[in-house]
C-alpha cells in the first residue's frame, strides 16, 4: 500500500516536472531541433550561446520587460500591504459611527472579481490618461477588498493585551499600529506579501489591456506577443520564458513557508 502511494506520487511528480524541463530544453537547443522530424527527450547538444543570442536580440525587449514586471510587482506588493493593512486595522479596531457602513462598502467588492470589470476599469483608467503608464499598471491593483478583509479578520484576533500596554505608554492608534501591531504580525504580512508578489508577477489580462507601448510591456505581455505572433525564433521564446520564471522559482524555494501559509490562510490567489 505504501509502495503504491509512492509509485503514484512519483509518476505524478514526473508529469508535473516535465513542462519545466521542456521550457529549459527547448530554450537551449537549436531551432531545427525543436521542429525536427522526431522528438528526443535529451537534446543532441546544448547551446549555451542561446543566452547571448536572446539578450542581444533587439526585437525582444526581455530585460526591459523584466524590469517593468519587477517594479510593478514590488510596488503592488508594498502598496497593497500598506493600504489594506491600514484599512483592515481601522475596520477591526477603531470604534467609529460609520465603521459598520464602511465594512459593507469593502466586503461588497469581494463578490466582484477584478477580472470581470476590466472593461469598465479600462474606461476609467484611460480617462485618467494612464494607458501605457506605470500608474495605470500599478494603482488599480492596489485596492484589494479581499486583502483588506483578511487583515481585518486577522487584527480582530490580535491579542488586545499588547495594544493596551501600548496605550498605557501613551501611544495613539497610529503609534500602536506601527510600533506594536505590525512588528508582531510579520508572519502574516510576509504570507500575504508573497501571494501578492506572485499574483502580480503572473498577471496578464490587465497589463495586456493597459501596456500598449512596448516600453511599458511586462514580461508576460512580451512573451504573449511573441507567442501569438510566432514572429521570433521558438528557442528564443522558450529561453525567455525560462528566464521569466526564474525569479518566482527563487521566491518559491526561499519563501515556501510563507507562501504555503498565505495560500492556506487566504484560500485565494487571483
Amino acid at each position: 500500500m505504501k509502495a503504491l502511494r509512492y509509485l503514484a506520487l512519483s509518476i505524478a511528480a514526473v508529469l508535473f516536472l516535465v513542462p519545466f524541463y521542456l521550457v529549459v530544453r527547448n530554450g537551449l537547443v537549436s531551432e531545427a531541433e525543436i521542429s525536427a522530424a522526431s522528438w528526443t527527450f535529451l537534446p543532441s547538444s546544448v547551446r549555451w550561446e542561446n543566452f547571448a543570442e536572446l539578450f542581444s536580440d533587439p526585437a525582444v525587449p526581455l530585460v526591459r520587460s523584466m524590469v517593468n514586471s519587477l517594479v510593478v510587482a514590488v510596488l503592488q506588493t508594498l502598496g497593497q500591504l500598506l493600504l489594506c493593512s491600514l484599512a483592515g486595522y481601522g475596520l477591526a479596531r477603531i470604534p467609529y459611527r460609520y465603521s459598520g457602513v464602511m465594512f459593507y462598502f469593502v466586503v461588497a467588492t469581494l463578490m466582484i472579481p477584478a477580472a470581470v470589470t476590466f472593461v469598465p476599469t479600462f474606461v476609467v483608467v484611460s480617462t485618467l490618461g494612464w494607458v501605457s503608464d506605470l500608474r495605470g499598471l500599478v494603482i488599480p491593483g492596489l485596492f484589494s477588498g479581499f486583502t483588506a478583509f483578511l487583515f481585518r479578520q486577522y487584527f480582530l484576533n490580535f491579542p488586545r493585551e499588547l495594544e493596551e500596554a501600548a496605550r498605557i505608554d501613551g501611544l495613539g492608534h497610529w503609534g500602536t499600529f506601527w510600533r506594536v501591531v505590525v512588528p508582531n504580525s510579520r508572519g502574516f504580512f510576509a504570507a500575504l506579501g508573497v501571494i501578492a508578489f506572485v499574483t502580480s508577477w503572473n498577471q496578464f489580462l490587465w497589463p495586456l489591456v493597459i501596456a500598449q507601448d512596448q516600453e511599458s510591456w511586462t514580461v508576460q505581455v512580451a512573451l504573449s506577443t511573441f507567442l501569438t505572433a510566432q514572429s521570433i525564433n521558438v528557442h528564443e521564446l522558450f529561453l525567455a520564458a525560462a528566464v521569466s520564471i526564474t525569479p518566482l522559482v527563487i521566491v518559491f524555494v526561499a519563501m515556501q513557508r510563507w507562501l504555503v501559509r498565505g495560500v492556506a490562510e487566504t484560500g485565494i490567489k487571483e
Partner: protein, 409 residues
Amino acid sequence: MISRRGLLSLAGASALLAACGSNTGRGGNGAALQQWYHAYGEPGVQQAVERYAKAFTKTPVDVQWNPGDYDSKLATSLLSDGGPDVFESTPQISSVRAGQLVPLDDLFGDARTDFSASILETHTVEGKIYGIPQAVDMQMLFYRKSMLDRAGVQPPSTVDELLDAARRLSTGGVKGLFAGNDGGGGVLGGPALWSAGLDYVRDRQVGFDDPLAAKAIGKLRDLYTSGSLLLGAVKDWAEPDAFTQGLVAMQWTGLWAVPAVRKALGDDFGVLPFPSLGAGGRASVPVGAFGAMVNAKSKRIDEAKEFVRWLWVERTDYQEDFNLSYGFHIPPRKSISDKASKLTSGAAADAVKFVRDNAKASNPPDWTSVMRTAFNDAVSRVVRDGAPADAELRSAAGVVRDELKRLYG
C-alpha cells in the same frame, strides 16, 4: 509628456522608482513623435522605416514595431490619450465617425493625381482622405509548375477546377493547397464571394444576401473536407514557407512573398487570381493598401501631418525603397510603379495585371470590423464545423444590415 510619464507621485515609491529610472517613459525622448507599424515579415523592413524616421530632421520620431494582434492593439490605443501620433492602417467609417482620424487632403498637393485613383478611393470616407497610401498589397494563388506538370493538371480557371487540382496534387507527403492554418476560412471568404459575382457591401446594402453565396462558401467547405489542404503548418499563409519547402503544390499568399519564392524555386512557379465560380462570377484578387494616418488625439497634429507628408508624399525614393527592396508591393504612385523594373517581368508582372483587371478591395472603409467579424465567424463555422451555409450567412447578413443602418440610417 515627460512630466506625465516620467514622474510619479506615488508616496513611498519614489525612491525605488528613481533607482529604476523613469520606467515607462518613452525612451527618454519626450519630444519625439510616435509612429506605429505592424510587424512586416520580410527582413530589413524594420531597419528601413527606422532609417526613414531618423532622416526626418524637423522632429524626432520614434518607431514602434508591433508584433502580434496589431488591429486590436491599435484599436485600444486610439481610445486613450496614449496612442501613437502616426500609424499605418486602413480607414474605417466607424473610426472616422468617432473622430479618431485627421483628414489629410491638404497634404497631397500636386502629387494627388500621381496616386492610383482606386487606391485613394479605399482611403476616402465621405469625401475626405484619411490615409496616404504607403504600399499596395495583393493576395494571389501561387502554384508549382513542375508539380502540376507531373500530375498532368492545368492551372485552374474555375473554383471546381481548383478543388479538382488540389485533390489530384495531394500525393505522398505533399498536400494540394495551403490557405492558412484555419483551412482557408479566414482569407478565402472574400474571394469566394467575388467568385460568384457577389461582394461584402454594395451600394450601402448587404452584398452577399444571395443563395449563390451559400454555394460559394460551400465550396470552401468541400475543399476543407477533401483532405487536400495542409493544416497546422508552423508559419501561416502570409509566409511562403510551406510552399517553398515543397509541403504543398499551391499556396494562397501575397505579392510580398515573390522575392522569397523566386529565391527558393527559381522560375518553377506561377501565379493566378482566385478563380471564378462559373457563369456570372469572376476571378479576383484582394487588394489593399496600408496608409499613413494621423491620430486625432495627438497633441501635435501639425508636426505629425508634416512628417507623413514628408515621408510618403515628398520622399518618393523612400516609397520606392519601401515597396521594392524587401518584399514586393506595388507602389501606389504611378510615377514610381511605371518605372519599377522589378514589376515588369514574371510573377510580379502577372500580379500587376491582376490588380488592374481583377482587383477587389480587401478592406473597404464601410466593411467595419463588426461586419468582418460576423462574416468571418460565419464562414469559419461553415468551413470548419460544417454548419449550414445559408443559415450562417443569413445571420451574418443580419448583423451587416444592422450595422449599415446604424452608419447610414
